[in-house]
């Protein structure tokens, strides 16, 4: 659908016309403005507001971007503005009073340095930002003309920003103008479309220009456009249906399927079929237990005719120690279990084990977070304390907690208002206040403190305003916290309360990404209005399910993996091959470094030994990052150093060095050719080559070979090599045969089918 662009409705009549046009075009959902609301705009021509007009001009022109005059440490050439104009008082001082007032000349506005520079009339390293005579130029000039006043004392405060349409369904390669409306404390509204800033969250699906004009491209799906004006953000959510016939979808196993399949229907994306048993077995075993199914398990599973065997296998995996090991690996990485010194050994082992044992015992997630954030004592007495060893300062604590457990990235708000969100510095420091009463006492262990609750009223100081701030949880009041109460426990009470909008949702989204390889909100720890979920109802339903199950992590895994949405095939159909966000098919992902190393060991029947750990310890059970130093394999395949709370620290991309490692790396080669390995065993086995080939396929892929594969493998095993022919050896020479089995396994582990969970 193409809508004619319509801009600057600066009078009621114009807006009414637009409104009528929008209604006529079926955009009822986009219209928000009530008829009885006063519309401002014309007044701009008369009195220019520094905050509402001038600063937005600078923002739109990029003057107060982080790379320009809002650059930390002095801006550019001594002229510093607040980032995105979030501090207009500071900006006014900087513009009018600093540099001996030469930036603004009320007597001759056009000679003001700010205009000369911005228009390129005098050399300006930032280039021309405001063309002479442009609307932005005129606004600034008029403001100077009117005295260059700080109008904050007479400005009506801005209370909200709205965008129209808020929701819209567009065809591919369509256009849609957006309109931004500022709402003020006196109830008035003003069209700020020209002054607002726009940004698409998925530029492959939709582009938006500086005037709010959206253009959809050729990919179906969902996209949102963030609109920012001053410190307010609004979001336009756009759907771009493929419009294909969905046909029959798999039956719904649970509410996950209900929402995923509804979305497929809405967007017109047909799903792939449900995957076969062997694919399911391998996929779910890798995702829950971080390992391949054994040959025995594969044989038994494939031979089992029961209709509930998938559910039973999920249950068996959830009760296994590998489940605890694998998810402990995930959580300890995010909780920064990092070895910086040899003396960290005990605390890292203890912390890892604490997480692992909690998962094994299926400790409720909220309880685990409570024990972590409210930890007191020593590391050996209470291993959760180790987190406070790694994350020492309140600001780090709040940032990590916020990102990891609430899915909110607050780092920006430490220095300035969050550019994409509603979070202010006061929000940042009020969250920091929850950690202000963490007391520390030195212990005899180097680098470790005893953590306790220090009695006192929790406060944190906003360094910019100098105000002492009481604890608030992302804007939510948590009541009075007495001096005797540990504020961290109050924070956890808030997090785990049934009405918390972040905690359960962040967990749901994180685990969703683990199993579906893309978050409902992506990145998984960046929940914000300007980054909406692809399936909001599903995310809400999952969060609700988590709360109802009392934060039962196994139940969360159960509900995700039992769904048919999870069990869809990775194979594509013509309609969904470019789909990357509707979950119409399974999105394959390369095995994580530890899982891949274990998988190679499993296929090769070898083991990798690790320092300070019993022989046979799997890579997914490694307690900290220190093992990366001794394992180029883990480094090359992206095992993180546990330095960040972001899952993105794990590198999942491919590289040439990974290929070389698999093709010719000494460690991989040694595993395949180990005397006690699978190749050696198969070569000396009395079983038939066909049986050996079958076993190898089951070990590597969890499936039996196709007839074609079987024939090719048999031919390879039987054929003499050029080397053996030259030496006069026969193909069944034991040494030659062993090398052929090594080759076979080498070929297996270099296939995409092996390297990917699919």
């Amino acid at each position: 659908m193409n809508l004619p662009p319509c801009r600057n409705p600066t009078a009621m009549g114009t807006w009414a016309a637009l409104h009528a046009l929008a209604l006529a075009l079926g955009f009822a959902q986009s219209v928000l403005v009530a008829e009885d609301v006063a519309i401002r705009g014309a007044e701009v021509a008369d009195a220019v507001s520094f905050a509402h007009d001038v600063v937005p001009v600078f923002t739109k022109a990029g003057c107060n971007a982080g790379s320009c005059h809002a650059k930390a440490g002095g801006g550019q050439n001594g002229f510093q503005l607040s980032l995105f104009g979030f501090d207009t008082e500071y900006d006014y001082l900087s513009l009018v009073e600093q540099a001996r007032g030469r930036r603004v000349s009320v007597a001759t506005p056009e000679k003001s340095l700010i205009l000369l520079k911005a228009s390129g009339s005098v050399p300006h390293r930032g280039g021309v930002r405001l063309e002479l005579g442009s609307a932005g130029y005129q606004i600034v000039r008029r403001w100077i003309e009117q005295g260059g006043r700080n109008t904050s004392d007479i400005d009506t405060p801005l209370v909200a920003l709205k965008v129209e349409p808020t929701f819209a369904t567009l065809t591919m390669q369509a256009e849609q103008p957006l309109q931004a409306w500022a709402e003020f404390a006196d109830g008035s509204k003003r069209d700020v479309t020209d002054l607002a800033h726009y940004e698409s969250n998925d530029k492959a699906r939709a582009e938006v220009d500086s005037q709010g004009h959206v253009k959809t491209l050729t990919l179906p799906g969902r996209v949102s456009v963030m609109v920012r004006y001053q410190d307010r953000v609004a979001v336009a959510n756009l759907s771009i249906p493929l419009g294909a016939s969905v046909g029959s979808l798999p039956p719904e196993q649970n509410f996950v399927d209900k929402y995923v399949f509804a979305s497929l229907k809405e967007l017109g994306v047909p799903s792939s079929p449900i995957c076969d048993d062997s694919t399911f077995l391998r996929r779910v075993t890798l995702d829950i237990a971080g390992r391949l199914p054994t040959e025995t398990e594969a044989n038994q599973f494939l031979a089992d005719p029961a209709s509930d065997k998938r559910d039973r296998w999920i249950e068996a995996l959830l009760q296994s120690t590998e489940y605890a090991d694998y998810f402990a690996n995930k959580w300890t990485t995010l909780l920064k279990n990092r070895r910086d010194d040899t003396s960290d050994l005990t605390s890292n082992f203890a912390f890892h084990a604490w997480i692992r044992d909690g998962l094994l015992a299926n400790k409720p997630y909220d309880q685990m977070v409570r024990e972590l954030l409210g930890a007191t004592g020593t590391v050996t007495g209470n291993p959760a304390v180790a987190w406070y060893k790694r994350v020492k300062e309140p600001k780090e604590q709040l940032e990590d907690v916020s990102q990891l457990f609430l899915g909110v990235r607050l780092q920006c708000a430490q220095c300035h208002h969050h550019p994409f969100e509603r979070w202010s510095q006061d929000d940042y420091y009020s969250l920091s206040a929850f950690f202000s009463q963490v007391g520390r006492k030195a212990t005899s262990t180097r680098g470790e403190d005893l953590i306790f609750h220090r009695r006192g009223v929790a406060t944190s100081t906003n360094p910019q305003s100098g105000r002492a701030i009481r604890p608030m949880a992302l804007g939510d009041p948590v009541g009075e916290i007495a001096a005797d109460q540990d504020p961290r426990l109050t924070l956890v009470d808030w997090m785990s309360s049934p009405t918390n909008p972040f905690f359960a949702k962040a967990l749901a989204n994180r685990y969703w990404k683990h199993f579906f390889h893309r978050g409902l909100i992506d990145p998984e720890d960046d929940i914000r209005d300007s980054n909406p979920p692809t399936h909001p109802e599903l995310l809400d339903a999952l969060a609700d399910h988590i709360r109802k199950s009392q934060f039962d992590l196994r139940e969360l895994v159960r509900v995700l993996t039992k769904s048919h949405a999870y069990q869809l095939s990775a194979s594509t159909n013509p309609q969904n091959q470019s789909d990357t966000q509707t979950f119409s098919r399974f999105y394959p992902r390369r095995l994580p470094a530890e899982v891949l190393l274990d998988a190679i060991d499993q296929v090769a029947e070898t083991r990798t030994d690790f320092a300070n750990l019993p022989p046979g310890t799997r890579a997914i059970a490694l307690p900290d990052n220190s093992y990366n130093r001794a394992s180029p394999f883990l480094v090359v395949f992206g095992r993180p150093e546990n330095a960040s709370v972001c899952e993105c620290e794990r590198v999942q991309s491919s590289s040439l060095s990974q290929s070389l490692h698999l093709l010719n790396g000494a460690d991989v080669r040694n595993k395949l050719s180990a005397d006690t390995g699978r190749a050696a065993r198969l070569a000396s086995s009395t079983r038939t080559p066909a049986e050996n080939i079958r076993e190898s396929y089951l070990a590597a892929f969890g499936r039996t070979p196709t007839a074609e594969e079987q024939a090719a493998a048999l031919t390879y095993l039987a054929a003499p090599t050029s080397e053996s022919e030259a030496n006069g050896n026969t193909a069944d020479d034991p040494k030659q045969l062993r090398e052929k089995y090594e080759d076979l396994l080498w070929a297996f582990i270099n296939t995409k089918e092996f390297l990917f969970n699919h």
Binding site: S320, T321, A324, T342, S343, L345, T346, F349, A350, A353, W354, D357, L360, A361, R370, E371, G374, A375, T376, G377, T378, T380, G381, N382, P383, A384, G439, A442, T443, S444, T445, R446, L450, F452, H453, R455, D484, D486, R488, L489, N612, L613, P614, P615
Partner: protein, 762 residues
């Protein structure tokens, strides 16, 4: 830290001290005998067990001594009735109570450091072969104890038959019996799949899920292993509601100050001395009314538990509040808030009166355990001891919470709260004085109270003072072995630290005894004598950067002296001037005391610096004495020290690097033994030749007998050669051991009595 850096740091430290810097691979402290491990570490009362020991400087030790007379050891003898090295047969009498005792070896250097020996009431076994896999799991019976040790990078597997529903209490005693092990207990199914895991407390208390075989896995938290990582694994079936006592364990240093002598009042109107808290009492509306004085036992049972008590008090009253919890052996940090309450119901208002938390160490301990800015012993506690002064007659509220208890639920975290009127008193603890190098010293060594002839060793004594007690405390020891004297340098008025010096005379005979160590003070006109507990490191830690020192209280105070070695240097005060029995000076004078040096070893460097022990004299400036001279002088400026008239005891101490040769006697003996072995070999060779000659010329009828004699002689020659080989090896070891080594140690003078008389006195 890289080794080179570490050595350089030491060199710098010594250089700063003026101690000779020609040191290489220098050690700290002269060799001391240390019993490090025993296997098994205990036994059932009424049984006899065989026990193997390991240790440091325990060569040729054949006497194992226990702190209970009912436990007796004999050296184990082999089939040829020779004593087997480091092995003993231990008999435990029927009537030895369930508990832990100290074991020590008598060595040529004296009594060794102690190691815990447990006496239990369950049958015991010792792991006899590796059990590092599921397949080799060692079968255990319930209601038994297994003595074992962890293996590096391994898991120990045990299997046991259990019945569904029965309560199983599995405990792994480790740290409490001096082990370095941090145990992990895993209860797994027969296939080895983990079911229950415990990594903190060493106790698994579970209900068996099914009938059948289960697997118990034990390993170190960090998979360390070897002799120091021993453990006793107890498996008991218990009634569902039975209270199962933990295996006995040693006590931490801080616990010396509990219980207070006479400081626990009887609850008014109660039959027993102590009442129990009544939950719920977690907030003001459920505050428990109490009457002062009182003694209350309770627990921080629930997460963030707060126990609130209301009491009435009158203006001007002073109440002393003491809480024991950490000192009872639980990992807590109790804290108290006392508020004044006015108004009732919704009109109620509270105002903070006092907060009490922690008993600070009376002297500054090492701030982090690995640098010497204080001793590596902390006499303080996270418990509470303080006073509440009542400003107005009325109602008051005491809230007691555990600062570490925000998230845990453990009814085992008990406390004992005492509120009393002042009962002035004191408690004492002592430990071997540690090296104090300017740049810090990371050694935290276990030091037995064992003296060389002519040696004076110092014990640092620390007092926790209670309820305003401020007077001086005399220190004394009795029951000492012959030739050993103890001299207490008192803890001065208002002070917290004193010194006790143990001196062996130059001719002290070898011997030992259980000594008694006391402090004595006058409290409210009455002489009070209190025991002084002695603490020691469970293990000698040569570098606390890498290993955390673990000090504990000892059960007894054995003192020994041996005549095999003498101190490298004895510093003795010369005789006072004629007519004086002690060194005497007037207030404001400078007292010069000649020091006699009895030097028995070479030293690196020409001088050493001395400081002064003794109340009133601690501020004396360091002074230097020559290490090569036969004597020196100590000058004490009484004017600067502002010493009041009275009798004082002082001593001088410092550190020096001695060129020490260990067990020279063993070298002499080994040399002699080798000479004898060589002679024996030569003699046997001659004998073989003689016999061969006799066999050659023997008539036919005697040929066989003669050849038999030849074979016999050849066999004896072979045995002599083996003996020579062993003697050569022993000589090599003795030679190595006796090589001169640079060892820095504390050198302490014998105590000196000083009398300060008034200035106008003649």
């Amino acid at each position: 830290m890289p080794k080179l850096t570490y050595i350089l740091r030491r060199l710098v430290a010594l250089g700063c001290l003026g101690v000779p810097t020609v040191v290489s691979a220098q050690a700290v402290c002269l060799p001391a005998p240390r019993l490090l491990t025993m296997m098994p570490m205990g036994g059932q009362a009424g049984t006899q067990i065989e026990l193997t020991v390991t240790g440091e400087n325990i060569e040729d030790s054949h006497e194992l001594i226990f702190s209970h007379p009912g436990i007796v050891a004999q050296p184990k003898r082999n089939t040829e009735n020779s004593v087997e090295s480091n092995r003993f047969t231990v008999s435990i009498a029927d009537d030895v109570p369930f508990g832990i005792y100290e074991a020590r070896l008598m060595t040529r250097l004296g009594l060794s450091t102690a190691r815990v020996f447990s006496v239990g009431n369950l049958p015991e076994v010792v792991r006899d072969k590796p059990n590092r896999s599921l397949a080799s799991a060692m079968k255990l019976k319930v209601n038994s104890i297994c003595n074992s040790l962890a293996t590096e990078k391994s898991i120990d597997y045990y299997s046991l038959e259990c019945r569904k529903g029965e309560r199983l209490v599995i405990e792994c005693a480790a740290k409490g019996i001096d082990s370095k092990l941090h145990p992990v207990l895993i209860f797994a199914d027969a296939d080895g799949r983990d079911r229950f895991v415990e990594r903190r407390t060493g106790v698994l208390d579970l209900s068996v899920p099914d009938d059948g075989t289960f697997v118990l896995k034990v390993h170190s938290l960090t998979y360390e292993g070897g002799n120091p990582f021993f453990y006793r694994l107890s498996i008991q079936v218990a009634q569902p509601d039975a209270v199962i006592a933990r295996l006995p364990a040693t006590r931490s240093v801080c616990s010396f100050s509990w219980p207070p002598m006479g400081g626990i009042p009887k609850a008014s109107g109660a039959d027993s001395a102590t009442q129990l808290e009544h939950e719920p009492n977690n907030d003001r509306t459920h505050a428990e009314a109490i009457q002062l004085p009182c003694s209350i036992r309770g627990a921080f049972a629930q997460a963030a538990d707060v126990d609130v008590f209301d009491f009435n008090a009158k203006k001007g009253e002073v109440w002393w509040v003491e809480v024991a919890s950490e000192r009872l052996g639980v990992p807590t940090d109790p804290a108290i808030l006392v508020e004044r309450v006015t108004g009732e119901g919704t009109e109620e208002k509270v105002a903070d009166l006092v907060e009490l938390s922690d008993i600070p160490s009376p002297i500054k301990p090492s701030s982090n355990g690995y640098s010497y800015d204080g001793p590596p012993y902390d006499a303080g506690s996270t418990d509470v001891l303080g006073k509440v002064e009542i400003p107005e007659t009325g109602r008051y509220r005491l809230s007691l919470r555990d600062l570490l208890g925000g998230t845990r639920n453990d009814p085992g975290n008990v406390y004992h709260l005492v509120i009393r009127q002042a009962e002035p008193d004191f408690a004492l603890v002592a430990w071997g004085l540690h090296m104090e190098l300017r740049n810090g010293d990371r050694a935290a060594l276990s030091k037995p109270l064992t003296l060389r002839r002519g040696a004076t060793i110092a014990l640092e004594v620390v007092a926790v003072r209670r309820d305003g007690f401020d007077d001086e405390i005399e220190l004394f020891m009795d029951g000492l072995p012959s030739g050993v004297t103890a001299t207490g340098l008192k803890i001065g008025k208002g002070k917290s630290r004193g010194i006790l010096l143990l001196t062996a005379s130059d001719d002290a005979p070898s011997g030992w005894s259980h000594a008694n160590f006391f402090g004595r003070a006058t409290i409210a006109g009455t002489v009070a004598v209190r025991p002084c507990r002695v603490a020691s490191m469970a293990w000698p830690v040569v570098d606390a950067w890498h290993e955390i020192p673990y000090p504990r209280l000892l059960a007894d105070v054995p003192v020994s002296v041996r005549d095999e070695e003498a101190a490298p240097l004895s510093l003795v005060a010369g005789q006072p001037p004629a007519g004086q029995t002690v060194w005497t000076a007037k207030v404001g004078e400078t007292l010069t005391i000649p020091l006699v040096h009895r030097r028995r070893a070479e030293f690196s460097g020409a001088t050493m610096q001395l400081k002064v022990f003794g109340d009133g004299f601690q501020q004396s400036p360091r002074f230097e004495i020559p290490l090569t001279a036969e004597g020196s002088e100590a000058k004490l400026d009484l004017a600067k020290l502002n010493v009041a008239p009275g009798d004082y005891r002082v001593a001088f101490y410092g550190s020096a690097v001695a060129r020490y040769r260990q067990n020279v006697a063993a070298l002499t003996a080994a040399e002699l033994a080798k000479q004898e072995a060589e002679a024996a070999v030569q003699a046997r060779k001659v004998e073989v030749k003689e016999k061969e000659e006799l066999a050659r010329v023997a008539p036919a009828e005697a040929k066989q007998a003669a050849e038999s004699l030849v074979a016999q002689a050849v066999e004896q020659e072979r045995a002599a050669a083996v003996n020579l080989e062993q003697a050569t090896k022993r000589l090599q070891e003795a030679t190595e051991m006796s090589q001169p080594k640079d060892i820095v140690d504390i050198i302490c003078s014998e105590p000196i009595t000083i009398r300060v008389t008034p200035a106008e006195s003649t």
